[in-house]
Subunit: 429 residues, 4 copies
Amino acid sequence: MESNNRVEKRLNSLSGVMTLDNNDQFTSIRAISEAIAAPLEIEDQVVQSMPDASPIKWHLAHVTWFFETFVLLPHDPTYRVFDGAFGFLFNSYYEAAGARHPRPERGLLSRPTLAEVLNYRAYVDAAISKFLAQIPDHGTVAALMKLGIQHEQQHQELMLMDILNLFAQNPLRPAYTTPINTPLSSLKGHIWHNFEGGLYTIGHNGGSFCFDNETPRHQIVLRPFALSDRLVTNEDYLAFMEDGAYSRPELWLSDGIATARANAWKAPLYWFYDDQHAWQQMTLHGVCPIEPKAPVGHLSFYEADAFARWAGHRLPTEAEWEVAAADVPPSGNTLGSGQLRPLPIGCGGKDQIFGDLWEWTSSPYVGYPGFSAPPGAVGEYNGKFMSGQMVLRGGSCVTPDGHLRATYRNFFYPHQRWAFLGLRLAKDL
Amino acid sequence: MESNNRVEKRLNSLSGVMTLDNNDQFTSIRAISEAIAAPLEIEDQVVQSMPDASPIKWHLAHVTWFFETFVLLPHDPTYRVFDGAFGFLFNSYYEAAGARHPRPERGLLSRPTLAEVLNYRAYVDAAISKFLAQIPDHGTVAALMKLGIQHEQQHQELMLMDILNLFAQNPLRPAYTTPINTPLSSLKGHIWHNFEGGLYTIGHNGGSFCFDNETPRHQIVLRPFALSDRLVTNEDYLAFMEDGAYSRPELWLSDGIATARANAWKAPLYWFYDDQHAWQQMTLHGVCPIEPKAPVGHLSFYEADAFARWAGHRLPTEAEWEVAAADVPPSGNTLGSGQLRPLPIGCGGKDQIFGDLWEWTSSPYVGYPGFSAPPGAVGEYNGKFMSGQMVLRGGSCVTPDGHLRATYRNFFYPHQRWAFLGLRLAKDL
Amino acid sequence: MESNNRVEKRLNSLSGVMTLDNNDQFTSIRAISEAIAAPLEIEDQVVQSMPDASPIKWHLAHVTWFFETFVLLPHDPTYRVFDGAFGFLFNSYYEAAGARHPRPERGLLSRPTLAEVLNYRAYVDAAISKFLAQIPDHGTVAALMKLGIQHEQQHQELMLMDILNLFAQNPLRPAYTTPINTPLSSLKGHIWHNFEGGLYTIGHNGGSFCFDNETPRHQIVLRPFALSDRLVTNEDYLAFMEDGAYSRPELWLSDGIATARANAWKAPLYWFYDDQHAWQQMTLHGVCPIEPKAPVGHLSFYEADAFARWAGHRLPTEAEWEVAAADVPPSGNTLGSGQLRPLPIGCGGKDQIFGDLWEWTSSPYVGYPGFSAPPGAVGEYNGKFMSGQMVLRGGSCVTPDGHLRATYRNFFYPHQRWAFLGLRLAKDL
Amino acid sequence: MESNNRVEKRLNSLSGVMTLDNNDQFTSIRAISEAIAAPLEIEDQVVQSMPDASPIKWHLAHVTWFFETFVLLPHDPTYRVFDGAFGFLFNSYYEAAGARHPRPERGLLSRPTLAEVLNYRAYVDAAISKFLAQIPDHGTVAALMKLGIQHEQQHQELMLMDILNLFAQNPLRPAYTTPINTPLSSLKGHIWHNFEGGLYTIGHNGGSFCFDNETPRHQIVLRPFALSDRLVTNEDYLAFMEDGAYSRPELWLSDGIATARANAWKAPLYWFYDDQHAWQQMTLHGVCPIEPKAPVGHLSFYEADAFARWAGHRLPTEAEWEVAAADVPPSGNTLGSGQLRPLPIGCGGKDQIFGDLWEWTSSPYVGYPGFSAPPGAVGEYNGKFMSGQMVLRGGSCVTPDGHLRATYRNFFYPHQRWAFLGLRLAKDL
């Protein structure tokens, strides 16, 4: 795998262009998807490691289908579809866009081959470029192009999550890439940032791109609270484990302990115990020792919630988090750093609010007051998932640069662990 | 089953005492549980119809175990336990109270027999009466007694839910009791009650009994909204069904349509189609035709949410509901009416806000700002269930009289349908 | 449960009549079913402990349905059906007799009550008596009566199997009855009975009642073999367990070790380990210590097969067993003894060939050469089960007296353990 | 896929060498495995289409592991293992050969890559050749080499079964290869070959290679019987389907109709109904119309058994089949023909006894009288599977040439359908 360093350089050089907001952005973002796949063998891009994950080949095709289906087909009368079967194969969940291949069977599709998928990408890329050159940048197409680009960035994060999940299940424990130099932690103590109670306004103000679920901007009432200046670390979490974490139901939500027991959880996902080396962790760099001062990741909401209760504190609400993040620059240890892992405390952006790990909040994912989903297939983007999931904030080390902001709402089911997920403590004042 | 009318009279006469708040209350409430079981055969009290339900025999024992475990054992040094095995058999979910028999296997317990369970009840009742006579009514015991009584009332509702569920699965479709005279509906139109936006305060003010989950009282911001003056009716829901309800994914949450498909839902629970008689419904009075003007019941949250979207409106939040209910007297068609079914529109309490059917809200069940569960087993009463469930408000036709108030928060998982559940529409202004 | 001794006496007195082959036999056999149920509470007769088992109430009704459906309805034009719904509820598996209630849901039927089932029995009994008195004993009805009686005897064994299974899952470990005096074992050594190779004839010769699966009588070739003069004992099986039985895949069939692992088998069914008392066993007399010299029971075929391999021998084929049993009187420790458990070696019939425990053979259950099932519903009695099951021979301590013969073929799936199942070793010479 | 014809030629030319019994045989057989994989893309060789199937990459490695583990490691002291992890990854079911990767997760292994597996093959091939050149052909090694070669041939058939299963689940319905010219059927009538009853001897006589399960040769008694001179055809089976096959439980074994219902079977595996083209069939040549005169394939035992009952006949026993096949030359439409599908009636070997489709018998797969498995890992080859499966005879169109004989016993579970399976009728005389 001598190609890894080269690829990483490619990732780094590409990350520079990701803040552009012009016609080149489409090309740049598309190239990042292919750069992410570049260190992989063909074999790695076919397999689906679990129903929640998808094959890399599928991701590469699906994001392309999005541009074909929502930009080219409805707006470019000269466009001819690449392959009539791909609509069925690469629709993820858009009911309004027709029938689709069952999600858990994505890993059964050895065809189309990777080469065919890459041809599909090139074909659609060319069609988009030609189309964009021809039309004035009118509103609908521009909005759909922006949505398509943001959508592809979301799948770039999913690709790295899914690769780690796949490799973690292989007894050979392959490494996706080699690690680059890690800065040392400056972790000494732990500081609470205090916030006054009262009326606050949250949600996106509409001045630039945002997803529909970030609106409407609206007022809320907060009680006085404090937020920790750092993420919870591996050594914090080990102390919890050593204190009986997984066998103390009084620390858990009822659904949480039931899930932990049913799945025999004893540690975060990707941790495993080795008699010779104690706890180890599978990462995108292969198997590594646990780094004590780094943020603990790959936790379910249930584990994050139980840790907070054990620590005598609680998770923040999404409103508290957003208030605290409002003035923080939305950058940090994200995909462009090439680290592909959360950095030790003190090494990312300010308080590691952005990047490193998504932060579980105690807020169920529902629409803001006055929210309603837009009509049609694009309206299925977010609204229909507003049930049973929890909000996460702040982005991770595998989130593309430029993709984040303080109002960004990510969401996962409380049992899911394969994303780059961590937590920060909060408390009442 | 000639004894049904007698039993009903007993239920009615007992319901008169349920508003007393004195030493007789314990005896009165305990008698209602036995009155509910009285029309049943021994056989009916043994079976568990599904994992969510419990045998009647188990309910009768479990509520008794609650008094034994949380009142007598810790506070009455002279008390001798009735049977050492009952703690294991009749603990529902209190981790701090020790190991317990698995919930889905409650229906395997033919022993202890019903007669033994009734002996257990008599033994504990006598011990409680003796104990209460001896002690001054000091705080802890009084609080635990109140909690035990409220707890038994909650199980009275569960008993009727579980009996209906059991009988509905028997091809013989037995009737629990015979219906009493039903008033006619005065349904003509449909009125929106408007509410201004602004700061409101919700939650219990602490002046009388409430559950921990109703506190702390706190401020919230509401936008201007309106609430319908009536529940959604069976004829409303039939129109939704005839408009393709269950086959139109665009009306549903993603989890909702997946659940509906996986379970082949085509109508509310307990509805079945009969070529000769069209839609029929299994009720506590056996099989009945669908009453068009009566509120539609036994709906999941997913169905309620999809109906509201189809109707062009939405479900209320729990805060909106509480604001609207704040000045409504907490009475209506509840258990004491002896109706055991939701009455047609116009026949219950004011706007049928209380009684008839629990009303789904769009609010996930989480703790109020500043909530924390009390320590120990009693602290497991509510807090640990604050995950994955939705709030319901207002009570039902099988909720014991005197048990309800505007701040009362009930909760079920979004797929559950066996409770007496309905909906009321809301909209933004 | 002071009534147990009385019931047992009733069982004993009744067993005396079971060899009669006249008009009284129907009444006698029917009375035994009710005597078996007599020590039970109503609650015990409602529950289904697992999908393979049925509620006692269901057994009592089903065997009655058999007489109603196959004797009265087709042959007695004056007969009026007791309840039209019972055909649906109490048909076990006869496709030709119409639709039926799903087997795994038999435990959901609290109605009809036990009292109603007993009324059903009395009604059908009266109708049968009246009908038999009126007609000359012509062939078809006599054959169906005989089949119905044999069928009811089979369910008598099932009732006792199912009661043990139910009580074994109750943490209170109730006893069905109290044990009677047990003779001591005369076990000293172990003798091989040798049999020459050559042509033999097996199968029923048609002179008296037999099931269709015992025919046609036909020739087979056997190699020289030997059969042990005794069943394998608990102490034999403990030695196997102590030698690593369940963790040595080389001793098992592939399906066997997979089943043992999937179900975490560590011992025969109904054995459990108690730190204070070592291995104990749940029996119809409640919890008892393991009796070393008694035959080991409640084994799957997989365990019997693995034991035999471990012992350096093998299970007999059904032909070998039948050849060895041909001249042995078909009596021993069966239901009429009142023991309700396998007796120590040396205490039953000759070599305990008949009674005590059914003996697993290595023969898959298929039709004999030339076998074909009779047409119609009665033809479903045996033939359609000739797939995936193994033959057992010899009867058990809960098989009704007079029900057995050397050609009798019982059958269970290789993973099933709730019947009274044991094994005897064989070897090649 | 222009390479298909080339590959087919390669297959054809290789098939010529498969009857050699000398030192070149190893090389020739190994080359056939690679020729079978040659038309496939890398992507096709990674995926596991169901738990019963394996990825092609896994097959290629597993058969290599067999030679490494059972020939080289125990007998060649100079041999150095290729990769220590491969023993864990590529052991199929040999408990005595150590721990192994779970079968249903073979499709999660993107690594080792196909290129690495092909290196592994080359490495082991070279080591075997060097080793064989050095040693005199003493007994044990020669026997193990023969077993390894037969084993690889069995996996060649599995590779083609698994590829068809994978491609059949892809909505694109890829073709493995293009069909070659098919001869026309000479089907006119249907002839019964009669066989006298009496003593026969079956099983292998030991003069050449055979599997352990073909021994010991032994006597059996047969009644007079007749066997059809042809396989059951697609048009025969369509008539059965049109006569209500899958909805007539009286034609089925109880386990059979339960399996058919649970899996919603309506036709043989790989058949699907297309409004425009009626019944179609997925084959190794892609989607084809049903050929009426060709043998019906991809049937479960349950379907074969039900068909025979419907036709008024029965399946043959394995003994009957072997008696009938004893004098038939063991050749026909096997892999070397390049047809890769069953030929129409009249086109294969004599009566299509060998080749075309494996023929279900009514005989459960158990050891012959006196059979015992050899000790050690190689003894796990057949013996431990003698439970729950049925015997098939005769080979198929994807069985390698030279692999078959009259005594050969194949076996599958009665519900399995992905092998090339058909049936021939028998009857009593």
